[in-house]
Amino acid sequence: MIAVVRAEWLKLRTTAVPWVLTGIALIINALLILVIFLSPADQSVVSSGYEVPHTTQQLRNLVGSGFQGYLLALLLGVLCITVEFRHKTATTAFLVTPRRAVFVGGKLILAAIAGAVLAVIMLVATMIAGGLTLDARGGSFTAMAHQLPAVAPGMILVFALFAILGVGVGSVLTNQVAAIIVVLGWFVILEGILVSLVHGAEKWVPSGAALAASNLTRSTGGGPGGPPGVTLGLFNWWEGGLLMLFYGLVFAAVGSVILSRRDIT
């Protein structure tokens, strides 16, 4: 299995996919940092122009400004498996690893690691870009760094879970375009509609579960820049994390069964 995961890492890094996705995530992150620093000041301090983040919540929002990149972790998972079918490299992959559940398992592990790495890259970039901006505005970089332990573990966990979900969905929907449309359609549109229509759905949908999981090292919900449409009434962090993992693994199990029966012609 270690060999399979190492091969998957080699596959991933020898295509443009991870670098393009990381680039997009960093651009989004930079824009969000900009938004934080350009937000109009609190009414009471309007005379001082823009407010420099200084409260605990403001600093956490700044540290977690890369959180929206979770969608790119999801796409990373989707792409790393559907690319095998798009370019027919699945034939070679199945010759090397004839047991297709092992193939999916290797993708799951690789995607979880890659998702976590993406979160780390974004946190580092935020600390550098956000920290420098904060410092230039007279804020405290040390105060910002103190919020890192509260934000980083949850964000890394959530990115890994979204990447796992992406592999799971991609193993069922091996058509790359279809898989991308389905995951983006769900997370951008359908999930919000479902949550607004069905009372109590917010804690059960993937975003709600993921947002709960992001509270790994925080006591309350409503984390920094978390997925939209979901606020209160969530599971605690490990329940949410397990639920999210469950979604990913159910898709992966179904995908493995379908793939095992599929003729690669």
Partner: protein, 329 residues
């Protein structure tokens, strides 16, 4: 002789279409076996069932008694070349090989060795998307050889190769066999393979037509030979032929073909009847004719054209007639 590959009563049904029908054959160890048949005769499906890529409806396809999926590190035992499109276009050639090597636990030094072997060492760092079809085929061969397998399975490896490429491929396959490997190579062209293979497995419509040695197949060419005669006195000739037990047919206004006749028989015969003959040509049925004859009987979609005896073809000339079955599919 031990078998490298055994196929027993192999059957595949695709949504009601019987692609492979109770097919049984064996590939002898250390020999090159040609897997021959017209397009659509189930060759690719059979090879993909052997490799665990296509599920089996019935029967077995095994290597020394074990299915591909049950082999420990299958890439070390069986190397396969399938269609030439299975590369990520933006991946470099050596990265494609590294990815397979890492996944199968093969030392990375083999990557350079196999690239050298197939003549791609100079383009190792080039992206596969920029490769020609011939280069892709070579990269496929390098991939197949990476694990130093004792068995090679090649599906139509000559497709898309130019004459030099086909010549190179022949030498390559013979070299692999000379180092003790067993090779199963499919083709819809016997002429492409007749200098390369030791044994033949001929299939048509998913069924076995014949499994034999190439040498045995060659002895069957005699049965289809005959004479072509061009004469201004065809009427007298056919009248004379009516008295002897031979079959003949007119193939041109002034030419007939006489089945099974030899020059030693025909010369004295026309002299005895004092018939003017402009030309006598011996038709040696080629291996292709035998192959065509064997597969035609099984394949209703191929129109039979008995009135055109073939000109003895130059065996294996690269530019010789494209498809044996001339686009009948």
């Amino acid at each position: 002789m031990p078998s490298a590959i055994e196929v027993h009563h192999l059957t595949k049904q695709f949504r009601g279409v019987l692609a492979v029908n109770d097919l049984s054959f064996e590939v002898a160890a250390g020999r090159v076996t040609g897997f021959l048949g017209p397009n659509g005769s189930g060759k690719t499906t059979t090879l993909r069932m052997l490799l665990g890529l296509v599920s089996v409806t019935g029967g077995t396809a095994t290597f020394g008694g074990r299915r591909y999926v049950d082999l420990e590190q299958p890439v070390h035992h069986v190397g396969a070349v399938l269609e030439a499109t299975s590369f990520h276009p933006s991946r470099r050639a050596e990265d494609h090989l590294k990815m397979v090597a890492v996944g199968a636990g093969i030392p990375l030094t083999r990557v350079g060795d196999t690239l050298e072997l197939v003549g791609l060492a100079d383009v190792a760092r080039r992206r596969v998307g920029k490769f020609s079809l011939g280069m892709r085929q070579r990269l496929q061969l390098a991939t197949a050889l990476l694990g130093d397998p004792e068995i090679l399975i090649l599906d139509e490896p000559a497709n898309g190769l130019d004459p030099q490429g086909i010549q190179w491929l022949r030498t390559f396959i013979r070299h692999q066999a000379s180092t003790g490997r067993s090779v199963l190579v499919s083709s819809h062209l016997l002429s492409e393979m007749e200098e390369t293979v030791d044994d033949v497995v001929i299939v048509s419509e998913g069924r076995l037509v014949l499994q034999t040695t190439l040498a045995d197949l060659a002895t069957r060419t005699g049965t289809t030979s005959g004479m072509r005669v061009r004469s201004p006195e065809l009427g007298r000739l056919t009248a004379a032929l009516a008295a002897v037990p031979v079959a003949y047919r007119q193939i041109a206004p002034d030419t007939i073909a006489i089945d099974g006749a030899s020059p030693e028989w025909l010369g004295p015969f026309v002299a005895e009847h004092r018939i003017v003959v402009y030309e006598q040509i011996q038709d040696r049925g080629s291996l292709e004719d035998v192959f065509l004859g064997l597969t035609r009987g099984f394949d209703a979609s191929v129109p039979s054209v008995p009135s055109v005896p073939s000109v003895p073809s130059v065996p294996g000339s690269p530019g010789s007639p494209g498809s044996l079955l001339g686009g009948a599919q």
